[in-house]
């Protein structure tokens, strides 16, 4: 990648391991994250493929029940803690946040690099548990299973997740302080791109929720290693307490996972429909609303755990409330498209697929928020389908949208547009084929976490397993054409999509300190309707960037 053309850019600053592993440049740290996250994504994905192969037949013929328990636990632990939570913030967010607000770097560049090392140590620590024999508690580490009965390496895995939590908090603090203190002159809060708003909301959740997870994981480790019985009824403890603590973090954590995806889509949709984002303030504020409401709905994971019926009613009501800001976003995105000059480049395809899948998954969330329906579908494949529609159909699709949208900026290269569109479509088809049958299965009563099932469920399971293969192809394709573009792709212009936003006003790839002259902002975000944009189509730098 490094050659004469890259000199003067951040990629031209040395290519040895030292130049990458000891860098404090947020753009390079983003790459460290991107590479490690990709590895975890495919590792977690491989576990899922094994599970789907097992589930193609009703009998347990490929793996034993014990191995199956370990497979889905590791799939969940890897995907949630080591991929989804850091995915967009730590890779795209890390790369783009300073560029989008016109800063030279994040507020604390060394803290940023440290966060990656903490992330890697924690995740390798947890992976050690895999090699040593696995964990069979699911990603949630529910007590008393995890404290009294589980025979796997629970303490090791939980401690690994605990360490990774520190890296999350570091990133959160760094982002919050950066947004507060390093915005370019003229870049007021309501001129910030929505991606920055969502990263900010995400960071708030990271900083305020992760420590509660840390507390609950510490208590598990204390119980397993030191014998302090916080969750053990025989010692006076309360197993349900763990669920309260865990979901107090982990429900907000699902918003950590989806909010940045919403931010990416808010960037992509206006750009490829040549329209300003409809209802900018509503979209910005709904991000904060989601972050706040997200803290008040954890009880909806516990409708059947024996919490009081009154608590159930309140949590059910609040869970319906959290749908409102999400719906505000969906409606505003849809209205952004109205009367737009829509073109279907790869990032746009992914963003539109996000819109469809997120809406579909979100509506199923309303079913689950209803007390009576939840009793029927609790712990069935309906729940699996719901959160995969949000987490995979929503978040991973948005991640792919963002990756394709900013790939030219990050690498200075263009990828094959045809390959991109094919991959996006294959992903969409494969995804629906995999997860739509699981709604049906769940509603018909197939419970999650079993490696065998009655033969009448086989039809939908075979469909789902076939879909998983298509989905895997959809996710593997970008690995090849994006990888190929690094070496053979056409040179990217500074602003290939003719987009607004400060990150497009600097070089592709950007210079080491992001901007040759520090930018000054005079317009709102998404000024796609303003005069002068035609002119910018040919000029890489806006006039006001110089002044």
């Amino acid at each position: 990648m490094t050659n004469a053309a890259m000199s003067g850019t951040y990629l031209g600053e040395g290519s040895g391991p030292r130049a990458w592993l000891l860098t404090t440049d947020h753009k390079r740290v983003a790459w460290l994250y991107l590479v490690s996250l990709t590895a975890f994504f495919f590792l977690g994905g491989a576990m899922a493929v094994l599970m789907r192969i097992e589930l193609a037949t009703p009998a347990g013929d490929l793996v034993s029940d014990d191995v199956y328990n370990r497979l889905f636990s590791l799939h969940g632990i890897i995907m949630v803690w080591f991929f989804l939570v850091p995915s967009i913030p730590a890779s795209l967010g890390n790369f783009l946040l300073p560029l989008m607000i016109g800063a030279r770097d994040l507020a604390f560049p060394r803290l940023n690099l440290a966060s990656w090392y903490v992330f890697i140590s924690g995740s390798l620590f947890a992976l050690f548990a895999v090699v040593a024999g696995g964990v069979d508690t699911g990603w949630t580490f529910y007590t008393p299973l995890s404290t009294l009965y589980a025979n796997g390496w629970v303490s090791t895995a939980a401690f690994g997740v605990f360490i990774v939590g520190f890296s999350t908090i570091m990133t959160g603090i760094n982002f919050i302080v950066t947004v507060h203190t390093l915005r370019a002159p003229g870049l007021t809060w309501f001129r910030l791109p929505i991606f920055v708003w969502t990263l900010y909301a995400t960071s708030l959740v990271m900083v305020l929720a992760t420590p509660v997870l840390a507390a609950s994981l510490i208590l598990i480790v204390l119980e397993r290693v030191f014998g302090i019985g916080i969750f053990n009824p025989a010692l006076g403890g309360d197993p349900l307490l763990f669920q309260h603590l865990f979901w107090f973090y982990s429900h907000p954590a699902v918003y950590i996972m989806i909010l940045p995806g919403m931010g990416v889509v808010s960037e992509v949709l206006p750009c490829f429909s040549r329209r300003p984002l409809f209802g900018y303030k509503a979209v910005a504020m709904s991000s904060i609303a989601i972050a706040v409401f997200g803290f008040l709905v954890w009880g909806h994971h516990m409708f059947v755990s024996g919490q009081s019926a009154y608590a159930g009613v309140v949590f059910s009501f609040l869970s319906f409330c959290v749908a409102i800001p999400s719906a505000i976003k969906v409606f505003n995105w849809s209205l952004t498209l109205r009367k737009g000059e829509i073109s279907f480049e790869t990032p746009m395809l992914y963003a539109l697929f996000f819109l469809a899948l997120f809406t579909f998954g979100g509506l199923a969330g309303l079913f689950l928020a209803s007390l009576a329906v939840d009793v029927h579908v609790h712990d069935t494949y309906f729940v699996i389908a719901h959160f995969h529609y949000i987490m995979v159909g929503g978040m991973v699709t948005a991640y792919m949208a963002g990756l394709h949208f900013w790939w030219p900026k990050m690498t200075g290269r263009m990828y094959s547009e045809t390959a991109g569109r094919i991959a996006a479509t294959v992903t969409f088809i494969g995804f629906n084929l995999t997860f739509f049958p699981q709604y049906v299965l769940g509603f018909d009563g197939m419970p999650r976490r079993y490696h065998t099932y009655p033969p009448e469920f086989q039809f939908w399971n075979v469909l789902s397993s076939a879909g998983a293969v298509v989905l895997a192809i959809g996710y593997l394709m970008p690995l090849f054409y994006l990888g190929w573009s690094l070496f053979r792709g056409a040179r990217a212009p500074d602003n290939p999509w003719n987009a607004t936003g400060l990150e497009w006003q600097t070089g592709s790839p950007p210079p080491p300190h992001n901007f040759e002259t520090m930018p000054v902002v005079t317009r709102p975000a998404y000024a796609y309707d303003m005069k002068g944009l035609e002119h910018e189509r040919f000029s890489p730098h806006r006039e006001e960037a110089a002044g």
């Binding site: 300073p98 800063a103 030279r104 770097d105 994040l106 507020a107 604390f108 560049p109 060394r110 908090i169 959160g172 603090i173 760094n174 919050i176 302080v177 950066t178 507060h180 203190t181 390093l182 900083v207 305020l208 929720a209 992760t210 420590p211 509660v212 840390a214 507390a215 609950s216 510490i218 208590l219 204390l222 030191f226 014998g227 302090i228 019985g229 916080i230 025989a234 010692l235 006076g236 403890g237 309360d238 307490l241 603590l245 107090f248 300190h513």
Partner: protein, 211 residues
């Protein structure tokens, strides 16, 4: 850049403001950590009040009170360090920092003596050690002591962190610019006061319930 540690900032003043702000955000995060643990304690206290009150009487009130005084004094010397740093009286600042971390060490030593005493009396339900408790409702008293050790050791870990950071700050003192010295004293000071305040809540909750 003009004397800032991070290339992102134009002036040391802006960097100091950002550092202080970052520490406040971190304290918010820490408050949630301790908040969760306090919540666990309070829920248990609502359920098993009498057992907790009885178990609490087995803690050493004199040592706990002494330690509270030690920590509050250390916060005073930390505040003094902040003031002296603002006046650029660097020598005196270092002395104030040394006294602060010394008081922190003193707290840890006394806490260690307390732990030793409790372990000796068989009040530590840790690592399979026998739990010998004469009072009523020993099962929930054991829960109380479990929480007591979890909470106080978590606090002690934070205090150790503070002492290590102060030691590091003193070690790097000679090479640090005045702006960096002030910035570090202010930021570390905030953290120190926070750890102190956690103890100010922990002390009544653990030692003084139903006295």
């Amino acid at each position: 850049m003009s004397g800032t540690e991070s290339i992102a900032f134009d002036t040391p003043q802006r960097e100091r403001r950002a550092d202080t702000f970052a520490m406040w955000v971190f304290i918010g995060s820490e408050a949630m950590l301790f908040g969760a643990i306090f919540l666990v304690f309070l829920v248990a206290h609502v359920d098993f009040g009498p057992a907790f009150a009885a178990a609490s009487k087995h803690l050493s009130l004199p040592l706990g009170t002494f330690n509270t005084a030690v920590l509050i004094t250390s916060s005073f010397t930390m505040a003094l360090a902040h003031r002296l740093a603002l006046q650029r009286r660097w020598r005196a600042t270092v002395w104030a920092l040394v006294v602060t971390s010394g008081l922190g060490l003193c707290f840890l030593v006394v806490k260690g003596i307390e732990y030793g005493k409790e372990i000796g009396e068989g009040l530590a339900p840790l690592l399979g050690m026998p739990f010998r408790y004469a009072g009523p409702d020993p099962v929930h008293a054991e829960f109380f002591f479990g929480l007591y050790f979890a909470m106080t050791s978590l606090h002690a870990l934070h205090l150790i962190g503070g002492i290590v950071v102060i030691a590091g700050m003193i070690a790097l003192w000679r090479t640090a610019s005045p702006a960096n010295r002030l910035r570090r004293v202010v930021t570390v000071g905030l953290y120190w006061h926070f750890v102190d305040i956690i103890w100010v809540f922990m002390f009544p909750v653990l030692y003084l319930i139903n006295r």
